[in-house]
C-alpha cells in the first residue's frame, strides 16, 4: 500500500510538472504588445515626500516636473504619463528598497540615488552607464557642459557616467547663537581646533537643559554618522578613509577621532550618548536643535535647507528665527594645519543624483525626462522656494547670491572639502566605522573598539589593504 501510494504520488507529481511546463509554454507565447505605441507611463522615485523628508524636491517633482514634462511630450505628439513614487524614510532603508527593486528587475524608470551607492550597484549590474541605457542622446546632451567634472564624478564609476548629479553639498558646524550668548560665547564663532570646540561645549554645559554638542555616532544613523561625524574629523587629523590603496586601520588619526568621541560622550558628558543609540536619533537631534536644546551640531547644508528651514512645508523641524539664531562655521582641523593638505579647516562632500533604471521599458523617454529634470529651467524652478547648490554653473551663478549660507558653502567650504572613495567596498567600511563609534559611545575602550574595527575591515577588504599597525 505504501509503495502504491508513493508511485502514485510520483506519477502525479510528474504529471503536474509537465502540466505546469505546458502551461508556462502557452503563457510565454502570448503576443507581446508593441512597447512604443500607445500611452506610456514613466515613474520617478526619490527619498522625498510632500510634508516630510526632502519635501521641496517632492513638491517640485509633482507640481512642476510632471505637468511640464507631460505638456512638453504632448506638444511632441507623445502621450506620456509620469508618476512619482515618494519615499520618506532613512537613507539606509531607501537604499535597501532600491537595491531589492533593481535586483528583481523592477523599480522606477528614474531613481534618486546617493552617489556613493553607484559603485556597488554598478558592480552588481543593477545600473548601467547612461549611454548604454539610453543611447547617443546622453552624450549629446548640452547640460554636461554646465556640470563640472568633479561634480559629474559623484555619479560616475570607472570613468562612466551612471547618473546625473543633482547638486553638491558641504558640512559645517551649526551653533545656536542664543545659547552661545547665554554661555558668554561670541555670536561670531570660529573655532580653530578641536580643543576650541570642546572649550565652547564645556561653557555650554553650564546651561540647564542644554546638550552642549551632538556629534553623530552609532549605527542607527547610518551614513550620517560617517559623513557628519567620523570622516570630517578624520580629515582633520590629516588622514583619509582610503589613501594610497589602503583603508584606514589602526592609525593615529582614527585613534584621535575615537578619543574625541570618548571625551564628548563618556568622559565629560558633553553630548547625549543615549540619543546616538536611539532608532530615530537623527530626527530627534534635529528637533532638539530646533527647540534650542542642542548647542553645536555638525551637519550638512541639507540641515539648513530641508530641516530647520522656516519656509512653509519645507523643513521637517522648522526654526522660525533660523536666520537670526543659527550660526554656521567651518569645521576646524584637530590643530591648525593638521588637516589633509595641511589645511586649517576641513569638510566632506557627497553628491546625490538620479540614475536610469536599465530595466525601463522606455529608456529613451526616461532619459528625456531625466534631462528635463536637469535643465536650467528645472533647476531655477527647483530653487524658487529653497535654494541649494545645483550641479549647473549657469544656475549657481544666478541663484546662490540670494542665500548667504549656501554662498558660504560654495565659496568657503567646497574649496577645502574632501570626497569619499567611489569604491564598492566603501559602504561596508563605513558601517564598520559607525560600529566603532557606537562601541566607544556605549562605553568600550578606544583600543578595544579600534581593534574590533580593524578585524572587521580586514574581513571586508583583506589584510593587505588596511593601513596602520
Amino acid at each position: 500500500m505504501i509503495n502504491h501510494s508513493r508511485r502514485r504520488t510520483v506519477g502525479a507529481f510528474a504529471f503536474a510538472t509537465v502540466g505546469a511546463l505546458l502551461f508556462a509554454g502557452c503563457a510565454s507565447s502570448a503576443p507581446q504588445e508593441d512597447a512604443e505605441s500607445g500611452p506610456v507611463t514613466l515613474t520617478i522615485t526619490a527619498n522625498a515626500i510632500t510634508g516630510g523628508k526632502n519635501a521641496a524636491e517632492a513638491d517640485w517633482i509633482t507640481d512642476w516636473v510632471i505637468p511640464q514634462f507631460e505638456d512638453a511630450m504632448k506638444d511632441d505628439g507623445k502621450d506620456v504619463t509620469v508618476e512619482f513614487e515618494p519615499q520618506g524614510v532613512d537613507d539606509e532603508n531607501y537604499k535597501t528598497k532600491v537595491a531589492l527593486d533593481l535586483q528583481s528587475g523592477e523599480g522606477a524608470d528614474v531613481i534618486g540615488m546617493d552617489g556613493i551607492w553607484v559603485g556597488e550597484f554598478a558592480e552588481a549590474g543593477y545600473i548601467k552607464p547612461l549611454s548604454e541605457v539610453a543611447g547617443d542622446a546622453v552624450d549629446d546632451w548640452d547640460g554636461w557642459d554646465q556640470i563640472p567634472e568633479a561634480v559629474q564624478a559623484a555619479l560616475s564609476f570607472d570613468d562612466e557616467r551612471y547618473g546625473v548629479p543633482q547638486g553638491a553639498d558641504g558640512r559645517v558646524l551649526y551653533y545656536n547663537k542664543d545659547l552661545f550668548e547665554q554661555a558668554g560665547l561670541p555670536a561670531d564663532w570660529q573655532p580653530e581646533s578641536w580643543d576650541d570646540v570642546l572649550d565652547a561645549a564645556r561653557d555650554l554645559k553650564k546651561l540647564d537643559g542644554v546638550t552642549p554638542i551632538q556629534l553623530n555616532a552609532g549605527t542607527a544613523m547610518g551614513e550620517a554618522t560617517t559623513m557628519q561625524g567620523l570622516l570630517p574629523l578624520l580629515v582633520g587629523t590629516g588622514e583619509q578613509v582610503y589613501e594610497d590603496d589602503k583603508w584606514v586601520g589602526d592609525t593615529d588619526g582614527l585613534k584621535d577621532v575615537l578619543d574625541l568621541y570618548k571625551t564628548i560622550y563618556v568622559d565629560e558628558g558633553l553630548g547625549d550618548a543615549v540619543l546616538q543609540q536611539e532608532a530615530a536619533g537623527r530626527d530627534t537631534s534635529f528637533q532638539l536643535f530646533a527647540a534650542n536644546q542642542i548647542g553645536i551640531l555638525l551637519e550638512g547644508d541639507y540641515f539648513w535647507r530641508s530641516v530647520i528651514n522656516p519656509a512653509e512645508g519645507v523643513g521637517t523641524a522648522p526654526m522660525a528665527n533660523r536666520d537670526e539664531v543659527v550660526g554656521y562655521t567651518k569645521i576646524p582641523a584637530m590643530k591648525p594645519g593638521s588637516g589633509i593638505n595641511d589645511q586649517d579647516f576641513v569638510s566632506m562632500s557627497g553628491g546625490t543624483g538620479r540614475v536610469l533604471n536599465p530595466n525601463s521599458d522606455h529608456p529613451e523617454l526616461a532619459w528625456e525626462l531625466l534631462a528635463f529634470m536637469n535643465s536650467q529651467e528645472a533647476y531655477q524652478e527647483r530653487n524658487a522656494t529653497t535654494i541649494s547648490i545645483t550641479p549647473r554653473n549657469d544656475v549657481n551663478d544666478a541663484i546662490l547670491a540670494e542665500d548667504p549660507m549656501l554662498t558660504y558653502v560654495s565659496e568657503e567650504v567646497l574649496p577645502i572639502t574632501a570626497y569619499r572613495p567611489p569604491l564598492a567596498a566603501y559602504p561596508q567600511v563605513s558601517t564598520a566605522l559607525q560600529q566603532a563609534s557606537l562601541d566607544v559611545v556605549s562605553g568600550m575602550s578606544v583600543d578595544d573598539a579600534l581593534s574590533a574595527y580593524v578585524d572587521s575591515v580586514k574581513d571586508i577588504v583583506g589584510d593587505d589593504a588596511v593601513a596602520g599597525g
Binding site: 500500500m1 505504501i2 502504491h4 501510494s5 502514485r8 506519477g11 502525479a12 507529481f13 504529471f15 503536474a16 510538472t17 502540466g19 505546469a20 539606509e92 532603508n93 535597501t96 537595491a99 531589492l100 535586483q103 551607492w117 556597488e120 550597484f121 558592480e123 552588481a124 549590474g125 543593477y126 552609532g218 549605527t219 542607527a220 543615549v274 543609540q277 536611539e278 532608532a279 530627534t284 564598492a424 567596498a425 559602504p427 561596508q428 558601517t431 557606537l438 562601541d439 556605549s442
Partner: protein
Amino acid sequence: MTTTVTTPAGSAIAPRRRRADDVAGLGKARAGIFVAPALIIIGLFLLFPAVWTIWLGSTDYRLTGLQAASPEFVGLDNYVEALTDPSFWNSLWLTLIFVLFSGIIGQTLIGFGLAWSVRNIHGWTKSLIEGLVLAAWVIPASVASFLWLVLLDRRSGTVNGLLGTQGTAWLIDHPMESIIIFNIWVGTAFSMQLFSSALSAVPPSQIESAKMVGASGWQQLRDVIVPNIKGHILTNTLLITLWTFNTFTPYLVTAGGPNGKTEILSVYIYETAIPGGQLGLGAAISLIMLLINLVIALAYVRVSRGRTKR
C-alpha cells in the same frame, strides 16, 4: 500498519482486478489532475524556497556589488562563518532568553492565570477582560509597536509620565526587558483563549469531588486541572515557543538595538541579509534556524507521544 484490504462500501461495481485502494475509481491520470494544483503550490511555495535557501546558503551572494552579479559557490564557508561568529551565538542566546521569558514563562503562565481567574466570572467583567487582552492580539503589529514606542518614549512617553521617571530611555537602558514585556502583551491572548476552552472542558464532577474531599485551590489545580489539560499545555507551549522563536515584531520596537542587545535570531538574519547585504550568509543562518525549529518541534512531538502511550 495493516495490510488487509477492506472493501469500502459502494466499490462493488468496480471490476475485480482494479486495486481496492482506488476508491473513487479515477485511475492514476485523473487522480493526478486532482492533486496537481496542491502539489504545484506545495512545490512552488514550500519545496522550491527551501531548496533555494540551501543553494543560496552555499554561495557568497550579496545584495549589491560584484557578488550580486556573479555569486560563487563557497561550500560550507557561510556555515563555518556563522557558527564561529560570536555575534551569532550572542543572538541565539538572546533568542533563548526571549523565548523563555516572553513565550514560555510570560505568555503561557499569564495566559493560564488570566483564564483561571476569569473562569468563574460571568457577564460584562469577563467580556471586558477578555476583550482587552484580545485587543492586544488583534491590533496589527505595526500599530502595536508604534503604541509601545510612544508609551516608552524617553522625552514624552506615557510610562515616564505615570512613573515620574522623566528622561529614562527604557528602550536603551532596558531593551530586552522592554521587548519581552511587549511580546507578552501582544501574545498572551492566544494562551488565554486556549486555556479558557481547555478549562471549560474539565469535568465539573471531578472538581466537585476534589472539593468534597477538602482539596485546596492549589491541590485542585495540581491534581485535577493540570492532568486534564496536559495536552493543551503541550500544544500551547509548542506553538508559543515556535512563534516566539520566529517573531520579527520586536524589530519594529528596537530595530535590534541598542548595539545588538535585542538582536534575536530573526532580526539578526534580517540585519545580515538585507541591510548588511550578505544574502548568502543570511540564507545559511536561516537554514540553521530552520533546523533549530525542527528540533524543537520534534522534541515536543516525542514528549506528547510518550504521554499518550502512558
